[in-house]
Amino acid sequence: MTRAAAAAGVLLLMLAPPLLTGNQFFLHLGITVLLWTLLGVAWNLLGGFAGQVSFGHAAFFGVGAYTTMILYLKGGLAPWYGMILGGLVAVLVSLPIGLICFRLRGPYFSLSTLAVAEIVRLVALNWEGLTDGPVGLLITTLPQVSLGGRAVNWESKVPFYYIIATLAALAMAATWRLSRARLGAYLLAIREDEDAAEAVGIDTVRAKVVTLALSAFFTGLGGGFYGLYYRYVDPDAVFPIALSVEMVFIAVVGGLATVVGPVIGAVFLTTIGELFRERFLVGHLIFYGLFMMLAIRYLPEGIWGGARRAWTGRR
């Protein structure tokens, strides 16, 4: 009951802003926060629950973004379908990555994901026939859509806001579902001790590959949305290591292996970052680095984990 109320409350909070303000900056801020919520939540599926710290999720983001753009520009496919296909292509890309990287554990896994993401970035940079290389891909207009008899105004930020709010809510719902399913329990076991997990009959490779695929799907959707919203992608924008690292930070600072943690992380870090960027243009990740260090040192369970512990009283 309280859970349903909480879920309804969160949903309302997510959907309300466009009704309250027409201010383009605040809407842009909301969209950015929700995009990073989606990415943080997606990363948390694998990194938080299963304890597999990936430094390579930009690969899925970039693949999702490029798939959406390429299908629209070269195949004429409407980007909202392209976005879903982008998620699915990210899943396809995730399978070989999982099979290669999941052989490794701990920091070695992290380094291998970073290498794989760099390989994907370099391929995108150099496969000019498909991606136009460093020049990037640009969409000038989005196709006409009408909703309830009215044409959707793509020049306004409101439709984008609702699209990304829906995606973020879906990712949160998936996390909630996972945390209650057997797979969620398996992932926690894998995080605690992989050998012991195997010994009690858990197919750890399968659990990790499935979770990576789910995580890649949502990350790819996020990439597709990015293409749609900014109408421009290039390898530096959608494949950098820093992008992978931001996803990690949002989840860790917010609180790992929880539904709400990455949301808090995204709201907190993205808001600070965007306000800083609005004022100074560059260097907004200073705070990401700083809060990451503070969190690891003083709040290893993240903001949400710490708050929850304070709420239930110290054990």
Binding site: R182, Y186, A189, E192, A199, V200
Partner: protein, 239 residues
Amino acid sequence: MALLTVTDLTKDFGGLRAVAHFSFAVEPGEILGLIGPNGAGKTTVFNLITGFLRPTSGQILLEGRSVVGLRPHAVTRRGIARTFQLVKPFPKLSVRENVTLAAFSRLPARRDAEAEAGRMLESVGLADKLESPAADLTLAEQKRLEMARALATRPKLLLLDEPMGGLNPREVDQASALVKRIRDDGVTVVLVEHVMKAIMRISDRVVVIHHGEKIADDAPDRVVRDPGVIAAYLGTRVA
């Protein structure tokens, strides 16, 4: 027919031969002790049987079917469960959740798995610790937790790697009684142990491994008198 038949098992690590043409069989319903000096290859044999390591050569049959090449979780699902020499609980998870995870291998529904976990924990005497994080248990309790976890997969064969190592004499007695009861409940047991007195008392048969090779395979009272075993391992002071 033997429950487990190991034939000509060999494992090389680089240039080092850890297990050499090792053969033994486990009969249903027995408690088999596997002993040998430090570094003799006991744990390696367990790791080979349970799929954590792949043999260089040799055969491992459970009820006539090979388990070589299966990954550990698949071996567990075939009916071989194990505990670890250095305990490996899921430290942050509750005692109940530790065992529930193992029960999932046969009981997909959480309610059934939790009920099963409760029964297993009751039988090893941890019923009053269900909600504690596993990390908070004493070593003896963690060893019992690992046994409950292994039993929750409903194994035919249970491999115990030093279930009494590091325990005090009273805890050793309790652990011995528990191992016997597990056998009486129909689970065949192989145990690796350093606590000689206990292993001699509860084992029906003892296999001695030295430098990766089998040097004896007999009833406990005969093994302790075997000159080769005494020379290799037991020395002159035998309990």
